[in-house]
Symmetry: C2
Subunit: 265 residues, 2 copies
């Protein structure tokens, strides 16, 4: 799509490191890592990349310093250094990619950094938590689904609540990102109560923690039995739609959301 002409001095990769297990990291991302001398990320995500990030210059900024991370990545690349800004999962989904474009769009930011415009940007998609959880539990997102972040740090709760009602009314399968944090506990309980107005108590709910990692835990429950205490910051919460079905085979429990072929079976 975009040509890498003489105009661009260096590439800034906006790179997705996937759910955790490196078996999910495609060759495109590995190539981008190999091309990058400078890596900007939250430290844990770099640790998960193991050997792939050995001998690289690491710029680890803590959680909460997202804007600083995006600025630093743009500055490094504008300074002629091949750089990768890294998020776990897919960097395009509730992650860092959008912040880079937002900075480029702010006159007060980009007028101070005219060389930002010369940076060639390449976004590299990855497998997100919603897909990792879906694949570990059957086929829950096989029909229309939505994602909702329950974090009201940057989004007013009224907007989130409006989306919860819309997702309920639209009968979407729902994946909750950022369901709780140490300081935020009540939002998931509120979401559960809202959804119980729209779908049955026995609607399948799946919790996925540390997905694809050695300490992965998948928990099957139902909407009315969802216990907020089982959920932490690293858990993805998925709620089926009114047709999602739980089955049990000798291998274990699965949830699938039918596409409508049942009429033909």
């Amino acid at each position: 799509m975009f040509s890498t002409g003489d105009l661009f001095v260096t590439t800034l990769y906006l790179l997705s490191s996937g759910p955790g297990d490196l078996a999910y990291l495609p060759p495109l991302a590995r190539h981008a890592l190999a091309q990058s001398d400078h890596l900007v990320a939250y430290g844990l995500y770099l640790d998960l990349l193991g050997e792939l990030v050995a001998n690289k210059q690491r710029h680890e900024l803590p959680l909460g310093e997202e804007i600083e991370r995006a600025r630093l990545a743009l500055n490094l690349a504008a300074d002629g250094k091949n750089t990768a800004l890294i998020s776990s999962g897919d960097i395009g989904i509730y992650a860092m990619a959008t912040l880079v474009f937002e900075l480029l769009d702010k006159p007060e930011e980009s007028s101070n950094n005219p060389k930002w415009q010369e940076v060639h940007i390449e976004v590299i998609a990855g497998i997100s938590a919603i897909q990792a959880l879906a694949s570990r539990s059957g086929a829950p997102i096989a029909h229309d689904f939505c994602t909702i972040s329950l974090s009201d740090l940057l989004t007013p709760w009224e907007v989130i609540e409006k989306r919860l009602h819309a997702a309920g009314a639209g009968d979407f399968v729902i994946a909750f990102y950022n369901p709780v944090s140490r300081k935020r506990q009540w939002q998931l309980e509120k979401a559960k109560q809202i959804l119980l107005n729209y779908r049955p108590e026995n609607t399948p709910v799946i919790l996925g923690k540390n997905l694809t990692r050695t300490d992965e835990i998948i928990t099957h429950t139902s909407l009315s039995n969802l216990d907020i205490k089982q959920v932490d910051m690293l858990t993805l919460v998925m709620v089926g739609n009114s047709e999602s079905t739980r089955i049990e085979t000798p291998q274990g429990q699965w949830v699938y959301t039918p596409r409508g072929y049942g009429q033909k079976l």
Copy 2:
């Protein structure tokens, strides 16, 4: 999660082949292909896998024979043959995985095939078209989004229309799968008209055709200018939310959906 005990005779991989370019295919999927002697898929998807599927037994069933494909894959695996059922994109998203679980769940199907229960199933996630398009166009799905299939072959139009209104009211970024087909043309125009009740005419719209392939075409337009004639079966249509923003840099056009950091900038 699941143990591969003596109980299971063979593995049926439900395998995602990604958006097209093999650079997006993770090692996990490559390993599963290497383990499989029998491949069941729509022919085009196998062709895209090139060398990776050389010397495999191919079972190509045409579009429309999805149930037959799922049955065949279960039968092959139950017969002791290592088998991969393959969908493009992510097999868990509007694709074949759910049909396998639906067949296992139907008493009339599974009672005729008791050995289906002995098959070990492994679902392998992949990068879906929505992520490929997002990465090629910026960061449009950085905040709450939903996917809606506009195909009313298996889902009643009333259900789809209800979801369109819900997605509009909830201000979700929307990705339309199956926007048109040779026989279905009016649904996307109707969807556009519904959404114009909820968001501005200049809402960014992105069309992605043949994503990641050599003949990829990305088109930027707006909701009111969306021309249905530009869309075909192989196009993914993405509609921004009320905050999605288009910017232009020397590299080209981008769309990002802010997460709310703007307040802090």
